[in-house]
């Protein structure tokens, strides 16, 4: 088990390192003269020189990379070009907000997804199953900005129940922010929900067809007991992994959703950096997201191995 964890950890670290090279290459080497790109064509040569100096662009590329990565690891993420402020506190605040949003989304899609998936599997091939299956397929592909604006149009504009914009004070607490979190959280949850439904359904259908479930049924155990002690313990395994991995999909969804609702989260900060071509900000946020994503995947792997002792990865 320990070897497995160490190997997976090594793999994730390698992936993050390679990703950091890609990020660095794509943002700092690929654009050619980065100073011209950021300041525009009409900037004076002196301004460009200053910026190059500031970003350390006149050093060799490898030195630049090593310095950048070293600083990032040590917590020095540099200064944002567009806000002229330190990046780390800004990113941390946004990360906290995104985590709140993702947390509410998790609280929605995990229970609802598992319930719907179970329902579809237990009523397999009935109209309930058909509705859930086709519905989840539809929601898997529905872009967040479409579901988001439809939710706003129903719950904010028609019914007036919830705020249509979630531009909360960046540092407001969870309780104060909660009403503003509901609609965006539902929006983010919808696509992932569909995924959890499909996974739960297919694995439950599998387990229901196994010999041990048939035996349990035939020896007269009450259906409830079969479901809880025999079916669920096995069929929820893959779902748990899916949920752990979904942290990665949430990030893509967050970028769009936060922009629909003007929510001050990490996704919107990335977009802000992209729109302003704020290279240090892009580098820091994207690398942070890749690290988070890597950790989530690692946890998913470990969780799966712990929960499923039949499978040993070496």
């Amino acid at each position: 088990m320990l070897t497995f964890i160490v190997r997976r950890l090594g793999f994730v670290v390698l992936m993050v390192l390679l990703s950091s090279i890609l990020i660095f290459w794509a943002t700092q080497v690929l654009p050619g003269d980065i100073a011209t790109m950021m300041l525009g064509r009409f900037a004076s040569e002196e301004a460009r020189q200053n910026l190059r100096e500031e970003l350390g662009l006149n050093k060799p590329v490898v030195t630049q990379y090593v310095t950048w990565l070293g600083d990032f690891v040590q917590g020095d993420w540099g200064y944002s070009i567009s806000t002229r402020s330190e990046i780390r506190p800004l990113v941390m605040e946004r990360l906290r907000n995104s985590a709140m949003l993702a947390g509410v989304a998790f609280a929605i899609f995990v229970p609802v997804g598992i319930l719907l998936g179970l329902l579809a599997a237990l009523r397999r091939n009935s109209w309930v199953d058909q509705t859930i299956s086709v519905g989840s397929l539809a929601f898997i592909g529905l872009p967040e900005f479409v579901s988001g604006v439809v939710l706003i149009s129903i719950f904010s504009i028609k019914l007036g129940w919830l705020p249509s914009q979630s531009a909360i004070e960046p540092s407001s607490g969870f309780v104060k922010a909660f009403p503003y979190l509901i609609l965006p959280a539902i929006t983010v949850a919808l696509t992932t929900l569909a995924y959890v439904v499909r996974m739960t359904r297919s694995s439950t259908v599998d387990v229901l067809q196994t010999d041990y479930v048939r035996t349990a049924n035939l020896k007269g155990l009450p259906p409830r007991r079969v479901l809880f002690t025999h079916v669920l313990r096995n069929s929820l395994l893959p779902t748990i992994t899916v949920i752990a991995i979904s942290v990665g999909w949430l990030i893509g969804g967050l970028i769009v959703t936060e922009s629909v609702f003007s929510y001050p989260g990490l996704g919107r900060l990335v977009l802000f950096g992209v729109q302003r071509r704020d290279i240090p900000l892009i580098q820091a946020t994207v690398l942070l997201i890749v690290v988070i994503y890597g950790i989530a995947n690692l946890l998913a792997d470990i969780l799966y191995a712990v929960l499923n002792p039949r499978i040993r990865y070496t």
Binding site: Q130, G141, L142, V146, S202, L237, V274, N297
Partner: protein, 341 residues
């Protein structure tokens, strides 16, 4: 020469790990590649067809098309998806010709007019006909997503073939490099690349290609690993056939069904991606109208003129749902017994 169809299904062997990266990250439309989690049959109906070992014609017999068609007809959701998809394809080709108005014609007098006979979907804040903008916009989204996906297939297929067939160190290196691309949520990678190279239609195509090449290569590679050990490939090798013959005449044709299914899923996801990028202001470039951007701009007028938002949103939803129903149907029809994860 024997062609041993897809017996045992197009099951894609896993790489000895859990679902980690088995599908692309951020991959809402899932591929056929399997994790260790054993698959199940997704669809409801016709159990005898779901056993991959039932009396099935091997791949690439002419009879297959009729078989696929027969199965497709039994799935109303997939049929519905296909019909809607074809309708949008028609729009993408002929939209600009049959659109009732010039999509860019502005008129101060016609600003934000509700739907009526002359303007069935109403007009937007510049007095432009929304129906015409939607009809013309279909082309951009199809072209960008379609060309990008196609290029990804053209580049990813040889990579997957070579990597899977060669095995060893080369395979390992190629796969790790592709893993790097897959370790970014795809929308994030697209944003970063577009920030650097600047949003243009050509760059958008390249970004779609770059994002999907690793996923296509992965599916092809898995098929190669599976087929490489089959008797008919062995036989060809013993006969002394050249490597290119084995790859392109034996392995590739038998990899087509999963490849086709993967391609259709990628295409359906590319619509999602291009529309999302459009919403964020990095999509199809003006003057051609972009559905996502249309929705973004319409948000400001929603309370006043809900039609400016609801018609484009409904259109995107319809197309995305239709393509995902279609590609799921395609998977069920061509690869019965392989679970959608």
């Amino acid at each position: 020469m024997t062609r041993g169809g897809l017996r045992g299904g197009g099951h894609v062997p896993d790489l000895g790990r859990p679902i980690y990266y088995a599908d692309g990250p951020d991959d809402r439309l899932l591929t056929t590649s399997g994790g260790d989690v054993s698959g199940s049959i997704q669809d409801g109906g016709v159990p005898e067809e779901q056993k991959p070992d039932a009396d099935e014609t091997p791949a690439r017999r002419p009879g297959n098309r009729a078989l696929y068609w027969r199965r497709l007809k039994r799935r109303p959701a997939a049929m519905f998806g296909t019909v809607i998809f074809l309708f949008f394809l028609f729009l993408a080709i002929f939209g600009p010709l049959i659109a009732p108005y010039d999509f860019d014609a502005q008129s101060a007098a016609l600003r934000l007019k509700p739907p009526a006979i002359e303007h069935p979907f109403g007009t937007d804040q510049f007095g432009r006909d929304i129906l015409s903008r939607i009809m013309v916009g279909a082309r951009g989204i199809f072209l960008l997503g379609g060309i990008g996906t196609l290029l990804a297939v053209l580049i990813g297929t040889p990579i997957g073939l070579a990597s899977g067939y060669a095995g060893g160190l080369l395979d390992e290196v190629i796969m790790r490099l592709l893993d790097v691309l897959l370790s970014f949520p795809s929308l994030l990678l697209a944003l970063v690349l577009l920030a650097v190279v600047g949003p243009s239609n050509a760059n958008l195509v390249l970004v779609v290609t770059l994002l999907y090449t690793p996923m296509i290569a992965r599916v092809v590679r898995s098929m190669v690993l599976d087929l490489k050990t089959k008797e008919f490939v062995e036989a060809a090798r013993v006969r002394g056939e050249r490597r290119s013959y084995i790859l392109f005449r034996e392995v590739l044709p038998n990899s087509l069904p999963p490849l086709l299914v993967e391609t259709s899923m990628r295409f359906s996801y590319s619509i999602f991606l291009v529309a999302s990028l459009g919403f964020l202001g990095l999509g199809v470039q003006p003057p051609s109208p972009d559905w996502g951007l249309q929705i973004n701009e319409a948000r400001n007028f929603f309370a006043l003129a809900p039609w400016t938002l609801l018609f484009p949103a409904g259109t995107i939803a319809l197309l995305v749902i239709a393509t995902s129903l279609m590609s799921d149907g395609l998977r069920q029809v061509m690869l019965p017994g392989v679970a959608r994860k």
